[in-house]
Symmetry: C2
Subunit: 128 residues, 2 copies
């Protein structure tokens, strides 16, 4: 791909950018780190099986192991709502509530690079 | 994989968790949003070609398009240092400096889920 800062991507290079990436920041109490990791693993593995979920990463901060980020990539806005209706989400939410050192926060993003294809999505022209 | 909150992962399920995931938070001035995206695309595409880089995502905040996160995944600590020695990193750093609304910040994480294999790394037992 060749990008021109002034002209933007060339038409022939246009890629679809329509993922919904959510970063959920979680801060747990020191005694809850290992149980949080176990609960987060179960939730993430089950969430990845949802058809609208492209990624569900759990990462732990190196200089403060009580801080985590869930990096969730959804194919549609409907998939975000569907995730919140699952049994594994409800179980995770309830399990981690007493572990939290402060309320969790989340921020929504759209992908700039790479395109949706890198998240396992077909080109938009081929979508129903 | 079956995880037991009390016992942790079973030995037979152990997976390697040794990625270095860096979130770089970038806040640019409103007039610089499109030129920043173009510069970030070039840097990300070139960075993905580095042998020690597993991911180099650029995402844009939905409720504030002047805010971006670079999600960089490195296979080793040496790969982080090697990235900073590249010409494309230096060009990106210098190009975006005048676009910044505030100093960029970064946070380092380790992967909890999924394992290194999801980042394209072989199991640790097979590594040199």
């Amino acid at each position: 791909l060749v990008y021109d800062a002034a002209a933007g991507p060339r038409d022939s290079d246009r890629i679809s950018l329509a993922m919904h990436v959510i970063h959920v920041h979680v801060h747990v109490t020191p005694d809850a780190v290992e149980t949080f990791k176990a609960a987060a693993l179960i939730n993430a593995a089950n969430s990845l099986k949802e058809p609208g979920v492209a990624r569900f990463d759990v990462i732990q901060q190196q200089d403060d192991p009580t801080r985590f980020v869930l990096v969730e990539a959804y194919k549609t806005t409907e998939a975000i709502a569907a995730h919140k209706e699952t049994a594994h989400y409800a179980a995770w939410r309830d399990a981690v509530a007493p572990m939290l050192a402060e309320a969790r926060t989340s921020t929504k993003f759209t992908n700039v690079f790479p395109g949706d294809d890198a998240y396992g999505m077909p080109p938009s022209a081929e979508r129903p």
